[in-house]
């Protein structure tokens, strides 16, 4: 049978929760063996879109095709899902968890056993295979969930905020596994609000805002043509909040995002912003650096709202 042109093809999809539209006329196409990121704040519709592709719900309008067909049970055989929150039975052992999943996907006997052992080994879980899931740390649970999703050797892997809550080492390890998975020809569709993750790992990124797809392209395309400059202000202890509040309403200032005592600021024109900063008395600023634009800046540019925050998406 001929391969479908896209791993995922979403056409003009609409989903409403009561009065509110969680997705509003969203269309996107995801090529095979690519990494596609859905970027948007909480509540922008990312999880709803993933749940449509996973077959957990159907759209009110429009069409979702996975590997050329609607995501009905037989198509779901080729799809793996890692949900945002931990979805594990805490009382089952790691091997039992994987065995149950394998049987749900029609695996059994030596094939199942060998895949379980291979995945436990690959994810560094072999020695804990007979322990209960409840004994695992958050990072190890994430690894187990990824191993479970990969057990049936899916062609499409859906990941909802895969690295949320992980420490840097666990995050790095997770992405090493995901890169290897992609290299094996699996298409990855991930929902994230981690700009760096999307920028570094995705071939294509779609910006979602209030249920609408507001932009789509490669990370460099999305950043290209940004009219704003990005500036990093390193502030003295206790000054970041004061400065952030002071400059937020200045004309020509876009986003002001604080990370500790560092402010990431986008401005229309850095050559007028910096003198004004000093005129206003920049005593609390220790250093000023020009910063390459990020996808967060691009998001703000096209969505007109910051990437961080909530848009009140109903639970999916």
């Amino acid at each position: 049978m001929a391969q479908a042109p896209y791993a995922v093809d979403v056409s003009n999809v609409t989903v409403s929760y009561g009065e509110r539209r969680a997705l509003d006329g969203v269309s996107l196409s995801i090529p095979h063996s690519s990494v596609f990121g859905l970027l948007g704040p909480n509540g922008s519709g990312k999880s709803t879109l993933l749940s449509l592709v996973a077959g957990l719900r159907t759209p009110d309008e429009g069409q979702v095709l996975v590997l050329g067909r609607p995501p009905l049970p037989d198509v779901r055989r080729q799809t793996g899902v890692v949900f945002q929150e931990s979805c594990l039975d805490p009382l089952m052992t790691l091997r039992e968890t994987l065995a149950l999943h394998g049987k749900l996907f029609g695996l059994g006997g030596d094939t199942l056993r060998s895949r379980i052992e291979a995945l436990l080994g690959r994810f560094g879980l072999a020695e804990r295979g007979n322990e209960a899931v409840r004994t695992l740390s958050g990072g190890l649970r994430r690894r187990l969930e990824l191993a479970r999703a990969l057990l049936p050797e899916p062609k499409l892997l859906l990941l909802d905020e895969p690295s949320t809550g992980l420490d840097p080492d666990s995050r790095r390890a997770l992405w090493e596994h995901l890169r290897a998975t992609r290299a094996a020809g699996v298409t990855l569709l991930l929902a994230t609000n981690d700009v760096l993750e999307a920028e570094r790992e995705c071939d294509t990124v779609a910006f979602l805002s209030r249920g609408r797809l507001v932009a789509q392209g490669t990370p460099s395309d999305l950043k290209h043509g940004l009219r704003r400059d990005a500036v990093l202000l390193e502030c003295n202890d206790g000054s970041a909040a004061v400065i952030s509040k002071a400059i937020a309403d200045w004309p020509g200032v876009g986003t002001v995002v604080a990370a500790g005592q560092t402010l990431h600021v986008t401005v229309d024109d850095v050559s007028s912003f910096v003198p004004r900063l000093f005129q206003a008395g920049a005593d609390g600023v220790r250093a000023i650096r020009m910063e390459p634009s990020t996808l967060e800046d691009a998001y703000f540019e096209v969505a007109g709202a910051p990437l961080r925050g909530d848009e009140e998406e109903p639970a999916s």
Binding site: P73, D74, R77, F83, E85, C87, D89, F105
Partner: protein
Amino acid sequence: MNATLTLSAWGALFSRDVRAFLRSRSQLGSSLLFPLMLLALLGIGVSDGLDPSSLRNGDYTTYLVPGIMVMTALFSSTFSSASFYQDRDSGMLKVLLVSPHTAVSILIGKALGGIAIGSIQALAILAIASAIPAIDLEWQYGIVLSVLLAVATVVLLNLLLSGLAQVLASRIRTMQGFHLIMNVVLFPLLFLSGAFFPLSELPTWLQALALADPLSYAVDLLQLALYADGSADNIGLIPDFAVLGALAAALLVLGARRPPLME
């Protein structure tokens, strides 16, 4: 200061739980309804029906065996159904629902475990009871046929209870609400079923209510299997199977038609 803080915390926790209780209509209603029904049904039943002359062999322990089997299936079914909520709360239900199976198929698979456990536990009660010399089971249709009849009854009853649990679980959001509704529905059904006292001595209106109780048919079937020569007071094999079978099928279809609550 510490005392004030503690009192403030107690006040906040107290009002939180009271608010949650008042918001849960199922909890509010069943918490009052259940004890009142218990008072009415059990009180009248024990007062009017528990005369040794109305019990077969005059032996209450022997009389209780079918009822205890039904009660065991009932409790087991309730506990098994709680796993639906555990799976939902742990996220496992979502994992099951994105597997290559329909939601109905997943629900049936989950119900099978509960049906098997409930059936085995009820039959274990029968096995233990039959080994106790003081309990005089008469096996109306011979021991093999009677045991087969008991097995069929218990499996059918567990199918029915599983269907009922699915119907409730797809409509009630919290496990507490589910347990309360199960209690408020199932305990009165149990008391009305003839499990604990014979129905023949009850007032006519209670006898009519008992005929509307599906558990009465399960108790009746087990009494027919385990006792002898009780046909005059029994409903009969065919109506028993017809009612239990039809209700089990209807509840299973109804439970499977509605998608499970995901949140």
